[in-house]
Amino acid sequence: MQYCGDFRTTYEKDVMIFQTPFIKVCMGFLGVALLALPFLIKGEYLWIALQILIAVIGAVGLNILTGFTGQISLGQGAFLGVGAYTSAYLTAKMGLSFWVGVPAAGLVTAMAGMVFGVPSLRLKGLYLAIATLASQFILEWVFIRWESVTGGSYGIAVPRPVIGDFSFESDRSYYYIVLAFTVVMTLFATNLIRTKTGRAFMAVRDHYISAEIMGISLYKYRLLSFGISSFYAGVAGALFGHALKFVSSEQFNIGVSIVYLAMIIIGGLGSIIGSVFGAVFMILLPKLLSVVTTVISADIPSLTRLVTAFEQGIFGLIIVLFLIFEPDGLAHRWRLIKAYWKLYPFSY
């Protein structure tokens, strides 16, 4: 988005992340707002904010794989789980620090993601989507059965991070750690897609045969995008585990994978800002729905069973309606709004 008279004369200007001074100011305000947030809200609302930040990491990761490289993955939930269990095992059972556990979780999940990404050389589209669905079920099964590591159906209790004498036991202090991770990883992703690697991803997505003819190694980049995406999932899962202080297999079922897929589709495929919008939307929506259902069932107790049953249904219905009426996602709507204000009051 540029102003009139904003002519770019160098490549450096063309690829800047923050294009204009106005955007820099806006991002500054956003940063201040995010830093001040824990002092403005508390309790459950702070917990929701934490969940959103973690979901942003996972959604950005999935968008790199699905939105930018064009490989549908139905296994993001399980990869979050791999990260959460890795960090939980390292911190709770081996006594290592949080600062070792989270990066290790990212790396281990990246390895796992690449193992399950190996079929991606031969499989395309739907066949690959179902192969990732298989990874979801296989990993979920491993979570429950590998009791010596995962604690089986009991799960593992996980500590919050500590630096020296200071413990990040409160949600407020832990929020800042998560915020730092989210900002760094989102900026990294924004940068990544401007590099040679990012453009290779998009070339593979848009036309893989042409990409291969241009000398892009399909195998390398497909596997790499699985690795990077799973790294993000692993970090998000680990942060989530430490946030909940507890890791168990139900937190990483197929439903979670579907919610993450919904995030990037509703937010906008192939758009980093879209992943953020999608994460905010998909985390807030169920909370709003449960507020509504609690109010209704408090007023009319006889409807409780009916209303709780419909909660999931309305969630599904909103996804369906969204896809029918806004198929390009929130990121597209965001562009239209920006264009509207740029051109206002002229409609051309």
Partner: protein, 298 residues
Amino acid sequence: MTTQYLLQLVISGLVIGSIYAAVALGFTIIYKATRVVNFAQGEFLMVGAYVCYAFLVQMHVPFWAALLLTILFALAMAVILERLVLRPMIGEPIISIIMVTIGLSLVLRSLVTAIWGNDILVYEPKLFPQETVSIGGIPVSQEFIWCFVLSMVLLAVFSVFFKFSKAGVAMRATAFNQQTAQSMGISVKSIFALSWIISAIVSGIGGVLIGNINGINSSLYHFGLKVFPATILGGLDSILGAALGGLIIGLLENLSDGLCKAYLDLSGVKEVAPYVILVVILMIKPYGLFGTKEIERV
């Protein structure tokens, strides 16, 4: 471990597999004609089972009439869903279509739980006689035989339908090339609707059969998730593949589960075995056993 135990595993595997095959057929029909991956296939099965329960047990309609009414209900549901939800999605990327059917599955699931609750319901009276008959010395429940025979008849009827009937040929033409089909006077829109109708009916009948054996509750939709390995194994767009894939998955699932329980003291292999098999097969044959290999040129 006796031969008898092994044979029983094989028989119950084949019976469950025949229902997988029926549902996989429904999945394949939709995919073949419209290129839509229907993640709500398991919910179609569940809705069929519950609607038949409502007619049969709650309204005391005789079985043949209940089955007919269930089929009519499935038909109506398919037409409405196709018209309202799937048609606006034509031309959207495959991932959006996957998501729309997932959303649809959530809606159907919550409707079913809202109406019938979460308890296990049982078909009363049972649809088929309960006495066991002996096949080569092994006692087999008669309902197993009925179930298997009915699924196989269903599969046979539809393969004949695709090969020889006018509508079947039109569906194959549409699957091959939509524009050409349209220029030959085939209404692609009604073919799309027809494929959803057939799919819903076949899955609905599958739901009635499985509901009769195991009882029905809201976790019946898990069946839909088992159908993916079955269809992929056979090849997404092959009807013969769907039938064989269903049988193979049912058989392998039951055998691996039974053998692991007996020898390795490892339970719950059932849930994961089809997916392991799926990954192994896909590594060897990326388009399944009978799937069309896409030839790509630049």
